[in-house]
């Protein structure tokens, strides 16, 4: 028995000496959300397959799991990913204790600078600015909304960008579209998302942006129900035809292209390329061109954007699509700065934009 244990330990030792290993630790959201976590994971998997690195994931079930999970990962791996704003505190505590391990944090940055720590944050406001602008241009009722999960900074930036997009559209087109913000206070409660969506639709909202993880399953379901109630569409073609002629209800996805989850019912998605961030993190650690500190990804760095709208692009007027493209160009050229705090949103006045068409 002792021999077996000895060889087992020895093999672990060998593995840890020779193999380069990446471990991702999730927050309580966990894998399988079809957006944020899965996106990050796909970036890690892609990088590791290309470079022939071992990779693994540890999922946290409770907040109190963060420190033990991160410590365990730090002992087993060369690069540890902590994904999700809620892990911020635990992340920095553990990173200090294991200076020999690379730590990559996704979606948070508390300003602390450790040589072995690299963090990625996103300008979520830039992606949701585009969907907010699109929503304001597409609404038939003059009311659009965003449902946030828990009011943590990334979600707040989502909301601010969305509302800024609505504001910009109103200014440029002289319309008076109302943008609402509500919170579900959970990332994993689809029933709550469905109730909120019905409430919003009852108040006259017809387009809803999600920024609430798994809670969004309920938004999709409610939107489907409402569309099926007004149309008798049997398949996607009939549904799109119906929506083109009469309008309907839409959800706007978040983080990754979510359209496939409910074709026709999801108008577009605000894209947050977490996969780009995690890919970069792995590559930089492996190649040795490690740079500590924070990297902020926005439209300019191709870390934010709007989805390709595979099913619903035909529903959007060409002029609106062109305007969005133009806004993307302005943001890239830094001629248009999207607000990221409530104060900036209040002060946000989009200047005179001459569309060249």
């Amino acid at each position: 028995m002792k021999k077996v244990v000895f060889f087992f330990l020895l093999s672990i030792l060998f593995a840890s000496v020779f193999g380069f290993k990446v471990i991702m630790v999730t927050d309580i959201g966990g894998l399988g959300d079809g957006s944020f976590m899965d996106g990050t994971w796909s970036g890690i998997v892609k990088a590791c397959r290309e470079l022939g690195i071992e990779y693994d994931v540890i999922q946290s079930k409770e907040q109190s799991d963060y420190i033990p999970n991160l410590s365990k990962a730090a002992e087993l791996a060369d690069v540890v990913f902590a994904v999700g704003f809620l892990m911020s505190d635990a992340f920095y505590k553990v990173a200090e204790q294991y200076p020999g391990t690379y730590f990559v944090g996704i979606d948070f940055n508390n300003g602390q600078n450790l040589p072995n720590v690299m963090t990625f944050t996103f300008k979520e406001q830039e992606g949701s600015f585009l969907t907010g602008y699109l929503a304001a241009g597409m609404t038939k009722t003059g009311k659009v909304a965003i449902i946030g999960g828990i009011p943590i900074p990334p979600v707040q930036r989502y909301a601010i960008g969305f509302l800024a997009g609505v504001k910009a559209y109103n200014k440029l087109h002289g319309t008076n579209v109302e943008g609402k913000l509500v919170y579900a206070n959970s990332f994993v409660d689809p029933k709550k998302g469905k109730e909120l969506t019905h409430s919003l639709i009852g108040e006259g909202v017809d387009i809803i942006q999600q920024a609430c993880g798994g809670t969004a399953l309920g938004i999709i379901e409610a939107v489907k129900e409402e569309n099926n109630r007004i149309s008798n569409a049997k398949d996607l073609h009939e549904l799109i035809d119906f929506l083109y002629e009469n309008g309907g209800f839409y959800m706007l996805g978040g983080d990754v292209e979510q359209e496939w989850q409910a074709p026709g019912h999801i108008l577009a998605s605000a894209i947050k390329r977490v996969d780009v961030a995690s890919y970069l993190g792995v590559v930089k650690a492996f190649n040795g061109d490690w740079t500590s500190g924070n990297v902020e990804l926005g439209i300019k760095e191709e870390g934010e954007g709007i989805s390709r709208m595979p099913y619903t692009k035909g529903l959007v007027p060409n002029k609106l699509l062109a305007e969005i493209e133009y806004l993307i160009k302005l943001v890239k050229e830094e001629k248009l700065i999207i607000p990221s705090t409530n104060e900036e949103l209040e002060a946000f006045r989009i200047g005179k934009i001459e569309f060249p068409f």
């Binding site: 966990g30 894998l31 959300d33 707040q156 994993v188 919003l200 009852g202 108040e203 798994g214 409910a262």
Partner: protein, 319 residues
């Protein structure tokens, strides 16, 4: 004044009442489960776990068979199975009921999380598997105000109220109900009179599995057609509060569940209202309304409410 106007508009909106009913439905089922178990003298805080397992099983079997009602049935079966563990540990082995209940919640969270990968090939959440369609009752749906509330809604909502009526009848009007209550009040006396204390308690706990399983099925295939890990979202605990607030009585538990459902619907409507502007930092407070109500009401009422005397006390026959 705008706030008052907004509140007034909420109360004349049929949607508010409809959402109250759908938000209360899982609480009604689960709190009924609590009532069955606790009047026979077994504390059952495992409701949260049973709901979660029920939600999961119904999605799995709906996905496998393509029939949502088979899914719902299997949710009940799984609920009874998990409740059986609770009964076995707390009745046969006289274990600490709160500890056992907590363990079962953790087991349910573990099982559902673990089985996602082998069954659906991905963790976290499932794809859409199918759901119970809303039931439109022809004559009723055409009545102006009322029709919008109960004319077209999930069949589970009607089932919940039928279940309350049935439970009230069973507990207060039948011999079995009398035995259940007597076992919860004074098991020694009941035993002396020849009542099978263990059998009655098993019945109570297993029935709680039936109702909590249904509550779980409603959350997944009844409403959204997906399963999401931890989707029960604390409703099992709110249901326990509803049961205590409802004085361990099916009708009382239903009323308390409706109150919690209404506070949740009210929070939704206020958040969505165009009339008032609520700053984003205050919004999470709305969701605390049910919990604040629970604390106020439970603290204020617990003196008056009648707790079954042997609730939580394992019964051990003297040799």
């Amino acid at each position: 004044m705008r706030v008052l106007e907004a509140i007034f508009l909420v109360f004349i909106n049929p949607l508010f009442y409809k959402i109250t009913l759908t938000a209360a439905t899982p609480l009604i089922f689960a709190s009924l489960g609590g009532v069955y178990s606790e009047i026979t003298g077994v504390v059952n805080i495992a409701l949260e776990g049973i709901m979660l397992l029920g939600a999961f099983t119904s999605v799995v079997f709906t996905w496998l068979t393509g029939n949502v009602w088979i899914g719902v049935f299997m949710a009940v079966v799984s609920g009874v199975a998990l409740a059986w563990f609770h009964a076995w540990g707390s009745i046969k082995w006289a274990g600490n009921q709160v500890v056992l209940g907590t363990a079962l919640i953790l087991i349910a969270q573990g099982i559902t999380g673990f089985l996602m990968e082998p069954i659906f090939g991905k963790p976290g959440q499932t794809d859409f598997v199918g759901k119970v369609e809303e039931l439109r009752i022809p004559g009723l749906a055409d009545i102006p105000f009322l029709g919008k509330i109960i004319g077209e809604t999930s069949p589970f909502v009607y089932m919940a109220f039928a279940a309350v009526a049935f439970s009230w009848w069973l507990i207060y009007k039948t011999k079995l109900g009398l035995r259940m209550r007597s076992v919860g009040e004074n098991p020694e006396a009941a035993d002396t009179l020849g009542i099978n204390v263990y059998g009655i308690r098993y019945f109570g706990v297993l029935m709680s599995g039936v109702w909590a399983g249904l509550a779980g099925a409603y959350l997944s295939v009844g409403e959204v057609g997906h399963f999401r890990e931890l989707m029960s979202g604390g409703r099992g605990f709110i249901a326990l509060a509803a049961m205590i607030l409802g004085n361990y009585n099916p009708v009382g538990a239903m009323l308390a569940s409706l109150l919690f459902g209404a506070s949740s619907a009210f929070a939704n409507q206020m958040q969505s209202s165009s009339l008032i502007h609520v700053s984003a930092t205050v919004k999470p407070l709305f969701d605390m309304i049910p919990f604040i109500l629970t604390i106020i009401v439970v603290a204020g009422f617990v003196g008056k409410s009648h707790v079954p005397k042997a609730d939580g006390v394992p019964y051990e026959k003297e040799a």
